[in-house]
């Protein structure tokens, strides 16, 4: 059972890693002026909800399967994701707003955030991998 949980977490984590990489690539495209802000933001906004869901699912799964340490590790990031999604002003077009992304260094902070998440997900990936192998051996 535990192995199944971690196999799922691993897959989910892979997806999140890919998503982070996609965010980074798209943002750096915008930074280098390869795409315009409008299309960049509409691309990214599409994936904000999947990211939130994906991460929340893992977090909840860890809680349910009583892996406290991993749950607590995931909790801040998941909270941040949800908070960020909820706190979008009503007039904005999503977490990424094309009219503001170039202002006040938002682009840079988005980039930084995506980088941090990538690192975090990589860390999680190896943890899940380790836990999965451990669980498989125990089985």
């Amino acid at each position: 059972m535990e192995a199944v949980v971690f196999v799922f977490s691993l897959l989910d984590c892979c997806a999140l890693i890919f998503l982070s990489v996609y965010f980074i690539i798209t943002l750096s495209d915008l930074e280098c002026d390869y795409i315009n802000a409008r299309s960049c933001c509409s691309k990214l906004n599409k994936w904000v909800i999947p990211e939130v869901i994906g991460h929340t699912v893992v977090t909840v799964l860890m809680l349910v399967s009583l892996h406290w340490f991993i749950f607590l590790l995931n909790l801040p990031v998941a909270t941040w994701n949800i908070y960020r999604f909820i706190m979008v002003p009503s007039g904005n077009m999503g977490v990424f707003d094309p009219t503001e992304i170039h202002n006040r260094g938002q682009l840079k902070s988005h980039m930084k955030e995506a980088m941090i998440k990538l690192g975090f997900h990589l860390l999680c990936f190896f943890m899940y991998l380790y836990s999965m192998i451990l669980a498989l051996i125990n089985d």
Binding site: P89, M93, T99, G105
Partner: protein, 1208 residues
């Protein structure tokens, strides 16, 4: 005059001679010419005189007055007169430097400049020496030069005038082209005789032989004049007209064949049958090139470092002119690097002698005084700059080949700062080498070589002011922009502060230094300002840096004749072959004299490389609310009347198209297709899925369908009088407008009178009236929905701007509606409680605004790119636009009343440069279908000490930037945050300054003189409608004030933040200026406090868009009778908006003063006469920002508060 060999190589240049450098009549602005010249000067240079009239400026005594007011050190004034003989034209603008306390070198050269000029004036000489000849030539090169309001004089008088003007931009500034008379000259006033004699003595002392120089100059001048006369007709012919201009993109909205909702009705009341006008108007050549009014200025200064570089830097061989063409991304300004032949040349004789000789006296003297002789290997350089040179016989040396000589600009240039520069041989070392300009300044300048702020006595702007003790912190004259502490030649070339301002005119070297100063760093832009003159350049090759795409500008440096170094990225570029030829002077090999390098504001006619599609025609669409509410307010009559009056003045050409839509709960289109007998109204009731009934005939050609349009406009106000429809489907109407405009782009003007209540984009009322005067949280400053933002971005993508006129009596959620204009580069007008009869002043305001709105210049499908020197970066933009990429602003429309702000940060230390430059390039399609690029370049010095940073603060620019930042903060965070941030800006900057003062007591509130108005302005900001709390402010009013702060240019914004108050019941002619034969009194500014309002007086408050005249209770009856036309105070009506034209002296003075104030701005303000005791007086008193209100500090209390915060 023999053409040089290089010249002969390009015979085609002559063949195609026509107005390359031309100033189209379309570029002329509507500003009254009388004030152009002077306004420009005074705006540009803060000379503390009443100089806004050309007459004052052009008189030698006035010039003397100018510098005598400056803080001239007496010992400098008294230095020997003969030593100043080397005064060159380049130095004649030194008059201005009198107000510039930093540089001694400037001061000591002042008298020489002045006197040299006056000597010529008095003797009525033709050009008496080489440099005069030169300037004569440069003036004569422009047949259309005219000096308004100055009597015509002899042809050489103009030279004198230009030399006497406080700055040496004579030609440029005085060029009011567009007239066919070749030159009209002022007749100069002769200076006092004593000065004449003195001058003659001086001249003889120096041993210059006047006749020797005058001969070639005179001759060539006449030559020029003749040729210009003959050649000017030919100049009108050359304009790039695209033959495909007519081919518009085909309307592509194949409409959904829905059966029901299209109802065709024929408008009643319009039944005239007309013959259709002749079909397709041919595209007429847009003859904007009528006269080569491009004016040559003094020689460029870019070669100053030439000598040095030649010695130090090995020439990097670059491929010659056949560089690969670079395609730029999308609509970004593309550029071609390939050189091609000049297709035209301006009619100028090849007068090298006059031109080159013009600089001789200066060169000689500087060479003589130069301690480090020029190591240039080229023979002509050696000859020019050798210390043995100062013999007049040298003047006849033939020029016209080889490399130009050192520019006087660099010779007398003291480096703005010395630290770190002298050692580096890279950039500006040329400055140090030629620090000593004139023999007289020898000993001084040798000790002051590498002049910097530290070495000079404390400048005026650093004088510590104890704010709590100083009662009259506000000066009596309007506050001018500080002049950057550059050397005089860079200063004269620098961009006008009206167009381009930086909050810190001394850029700190590092971000750490900037952080220490606690001041905002940013630019304030007014790029599309109405300019009285503007060099327009038609050239096949627009020379740009190959790596950063910077346009060539006056601050680049020419490494040698064929290469120039970009001043933003320092890349070395080739000078294209075409650029070597100067059509102005018809000389070859003088790229530094091209107008691009002589003017920091230029406009290029762009080639097809800068187009993604053929230039669009001017397209105007009016979307009008005709619900019951709108009809009740009655704006339709005013709008239609204005449109009828201005239909012919709408900017555009024969392709101009116009369309109308009205909406209530349905959307009405008007078919105005030429050939119909009457306008046809098409009603679309399906607002869920809007479509265009007849896409081709809704936007019609203005010329072809003019009669139909007039019929419609006449019928429109009465068409909906009995409507019972109260709903407003704004969103669907906008969607329809977007569909209608998307094939072409253009301008959509939306008139809305209530909250949109149907269809997409409907809004709910969010304002709680009880919260209006809340001191705590002000909510709903941001938009409620992203519908309008998305729509605006869609529009922006299709080059369509949406302008919003909101005429509402109740809450209409401007915060949401404004988004449609904010992100599509439109503009927002708001008329609270508008009613055509109940509120006549608002109606009048609408009328005047519409007149301006309809007739002002407009640019379509524009993009603006802001570049700055490597090391600086822009991080936040303010204004109405969409930021498409990091430095590219997408502007569907640009109008002359739009201002922008940019925040900067310093990413890399600027230690290896002494100057930074900023360049904005605005690429737009003019209403005539020309693609044009307007380029502004600003150059500022870099400083390394905190004191210098404070010395260069432009407090007005800083306040405007802070206002923009505070608006952002209040929307993204909260209003109280923004208010705290504003107060903290004062506290931080003053405490940071206080910590730099070691000797002063820290208990007092000390500010540098440059910042002394900072607390006052911040207090004024806090009391603005946008940021005030505690006073009842309607949400829409607040949001509108915020919108204005974001989008207004600095000059208008400053009036809004801190109005000007004048006492007008005792106007005298003392200090009056003369404008157009009218005497305009100049009353001193009063501080905005009720203590200044005496009951016996009458006061005028200039708030930018509104004038208030406050009449005291016991105001002199003479004034009331003479000016207002009523016998006494009691009989003055409550609502008075006009001053009668009475034939009394005081009435005349008052009116001429008000007219003068009005003329200085595009929007004609409404006048309100406010009686003391009348209910309207609250509106007047809310502008008295220094006074205490129930919810806000007085100025003194604010200072105490700031002081407490600092001491904490």
């Amino acid at each position: 005059m023999h053409p040089s060999s290089g010249y002969r190589l390009h015979p085609q240049n002559y063949i195609a001679a026509s107005g390359h450098y031309s100033q189209g009549p379309g570029k002329m602005t509507s500003l009254p010419p009388e004030s152009q010249c002077g306004d420009y000067y005074s705006g540009l240079y803060p000379v503390p005189t009443h100089s806004p009239t050309p007459s004052t400026v052009s008189q030698p005594p006035a010039a003397q007055q100018l510098y005598s007011r400056g803080p001239l050190p007496p010992q400098m004034m008294g230095s020997s007169p003969g030593s100043f003989q080397g005064a060159a034209p380049s130095a004649s603008h030194l008059h201005t430097s009198a107000s510039q306390p930093y540089s001694f070198v400037n001061h000591c050269s002042n008298p020489a400049v002045y006197s040299a000029n006056s000597s010529v004036a008095s003797q009525g000489f033709p050009p008496t020496c080489g440099h005069y000849a030169m300037s004569t030539v440069s003036n004569a090169a422009y047949p259309s030069v005219s000096y308004p309001s100055l009597p015509a004089g002899d042809p050489y008088g103009q030279m004198l005038t230009s030399q006497n003007t406080p700055i040496f931009r004579p030609v440029k500034d005085n060029s009011f082209s567009g007239q066919s008379t070749p030159i009209s000259h002022p007749s100069p006033l002769p200076p006092p005789p004593s000065q004449q004699q003195q001058q003659q003595q001086q001249q003889s002392l120096s041993g210059y032989s006047n006749p020797l120089w005058s001969a070639p100059g005179l001759q060539s001048t006449q030559d020029n004049l003749n040729r210009n006369h003959t050649a000017s007709p030919a100049t009108a012919s050359n304009n790039p007209v695209h033959t495909d201009l007519l081919s518009r993109p085909v309307m592509q909205n194949a409409q959904s064949p829905k059966p029901s909702p299209v109802v065709s009705t024929v408008l009643s009341g319009t039944s005239a049958t007309r013959t259709p006008p002749a079909a397709n108007h041919p595209v007429r050549p847009v003859a904007s090139a009528t006269q080569p009014s491009e004016l040559l200025q003094h020689k460029g200064m870019q070669y100053g470092e030439y000598v040095n570089n030649q010695a130090s830097s090995a020439p990097t061989p670059l491929s010659s002119t056949s560089d690969d063409e670079e395609e730029e991304d999308e609509d970004e300004e593309a550029g071609v690097d390939s050189s091609s032949t000049t297709s035209s040349a301006s009619p100028m004789p090849n007068s090298y002698d006059a031109l080159e000789g013009g600089n001789y006296p200066d060169m000689l003297s500087s060479a003589a005084s130069s301690p480090a002789p020029d190591p240039a290997p080229e023979p002509d350089h050696a000859a020019t700059l050798a210390p043995a040179a100062p013999q007049p016989t040298k003047m006849s040396k033939p020029f016209g080949y080889g490399y130009p000589t050192l520019q006087p600009g660099y010779q007398n240039a003291a480096a703005p700062l010395n630290s770190g520069v002298q050692s580096s041989s890279s950039m500006y070392s040329g400055f140090q080498q030629y620090t000593q300009p004139y023999p007289g300044g020898n000993q001084l300048s040798s000790s002051l070589a590498g002049l910097s702020l530290q070495s000079s006595p404390q400048p005026e702007s650093l004088r510590p002011v104890n704010l709590t003790q100083e009662r009259n912190v506000l000066p009596a004259t309007p506050v001018w922009a500080p002049v950057p502490n550059l050397n005089v030649d860079l200063r004269k070339l620098n961009c006008s502060p009206d167009s381009f301002r930086c909050t810190l005119t001394n850029i700190p070297q590092t971000q750490a230094l900037l952080n220490k100063a606690k001041l905002p760093l940013g630019l304030l832009l007014h790029p599309f300002r109405d300019l009285t003159q503007l060099p327009v350049i038609t050239s096949n090759t627009i020379v740009r840096c190959r790596s950063c795409r910077t346009y060539i500008n006056p601050f680049v440096s020419f490494i040698d004749q064929r290469r120039w170094k970009c001043n933003l990225c320092y890349r070395v570029n080739d000078v294209p072959e075409e650029f070597m030829y100067n059509p102005l002077t018809r000389s070859y090999g003088e790229p530094h004299k091209r107008p691009e390098v002589q003017n920091s504001t230029v406009e290029f006619i762009a080639s097809s490389d800068y187009m993604l599609r053929p230039p669009q025609p001017a397209v105007y669409l009016f979307v009008l609310d005709v619900s019951h509410n709108a009809v009740e307010a009655g704006y339709l009559a005013i709008l239609c009347q204005s449109l009828l009056e201005n239909l012919d003045k709408l900017p555009g050409d024969s392709r101009t198209r116009i369309g109308f839509m009205t909406f209530d709960s349905t959307i009405h289109f008007y078919n105005l297709q030429d050939g119909l007998s009457q306008p046809q109204m098409l009603i679309v009731s399906d607002i869920e899925d809007v479509f265009l009934p007849t896409p081709d005939s809704l936007l019609v050609n203005l010329c072809e369908s003019k009669e139909l349009i007039k019929d419609l406009l006449n019928a429109l106000p009465n068409m909906f009088t009995n409507t019972r429809e109260t709903h407003s489907a704004l969103g669907p109407a906008l969607q329809a407008a977007f569909k209608l405009m998307s094939p072409t782009g253009g301008r959509v003007s939306v008139f809305q009178t209530q909250l949109p209540s149907m269809g997409a984009g409907l809004l709910q009322s969010r304002e709680d009236p009880n919260q209006r005067s809340s001191t705590k949280v002000v909510q709903h400053l941001g938009p409620a929905t992203d519908f309008y933002k998305k729509l605006a971005l869609d529009c922006s993508g299709q080059q369509t701007a949406v302008d919003l006129f909101l005429l509402s009596s109740q809450y209409s959620d401007l915060a949401s509606l404004a988004c449609m204009s904010k992100y599509s580069a439109g503009c927002i007008y708001y008329y609270p409680s508008f009613h055509c009869t109940h509120n006549p002043s608002q109606a009048e305001k609408l009328q005047k605004d519409l007149k301006r709105y309809l007739t002002r210049k407009i640019g379509f499908e524009a993009v603006m790119r802001i570049r700055c020197t490597k090391g600086l970066s822009m991080h936040t933009f303010h204004g109405n636009f969409f930021v498409r990429s990091t430095d590219l602003l997408s502007l569907a429309n640009i109008n002359p009343d739009a201002g922008f702000a940019v925040q900067l940060s310093i990413e890399e230390n600027l230690t290896d440069t002494s100057l930074v430059c900023f360049q904005t390039a605005l690429l737009y399609t003019s209403s005539k279908g020309e693609r044009r690029i307007r380029v502004h370049t600003l150059c500022l010095p870099v400083v390394s000490s905190l004191a210098d940073v404070y010395a260069g603060v432009d407090v007005q620019a800083a306040i405007c930037l802070l206002a923009n930042m505070a608006v952002d903060r209040s929307i993204s965070s909260s209003l109280s945050d923004a208010r705290d941030a504003l107060v903290n800006a004062v506290v931080d900057s003053l405490s940071a300054y206080g910590s730099t003062l070691s000797n002063l007591q820290h208990s007092a509130l000390i500010a540098p003189s440059s910042l002394k108005l900072f607390p006052l302005y911040v207090l004024a900001l806090l009391k603005q409608k946008a940021f005030r709390t505690g006073t009842s402010t309607r949400l829409d009013d607040r949001v509108y004030a915020m919108c204005q702060m974001k989008s207004q240019p600095l000059v208008h914004l400053m009036k809004m933040i801190h109005p000007n108050l004048y006492r007008i019941d005792r106007l005298t002619d003392e200090g009056a200026v003369h404008v157009n034969d009218r005497v305009v009194p100049q009353p001193p500014l009063q501080k905005l406090s009720a203590e200044k309002l005496t009951r016996e007086g009458a006061f005028l408050m200039d708030c930018g868009s509104i004038f208030y005249i406050w009449i005291g209770k016991s105001c002199d009856n003479n004034f009331i009778e003479d000016v207002l036309g009523y016998p006494n105070f009691a009989s003055v009506p409550q609502k008075m908006t006009h001053l009668p034209e009475l034939d009394t002296l005081s009435s005349e003075r008052t009116r001429s003063f008000i007219t003068w104030l009005r003329d200085s701005r595009p929007l004609s303000p409404i006048l309100h006469v406010v009686k003391d005791e009348s209910p309207a007086k609250a509106e007047f008193f809310q502008h008295l920002v220094e006074d205490r209100t129930e919810a806000a500090f007085s100025y003194y209390e604010f200072l105490i508060h700031v002081q407490k915060q600092i001491c904490k």
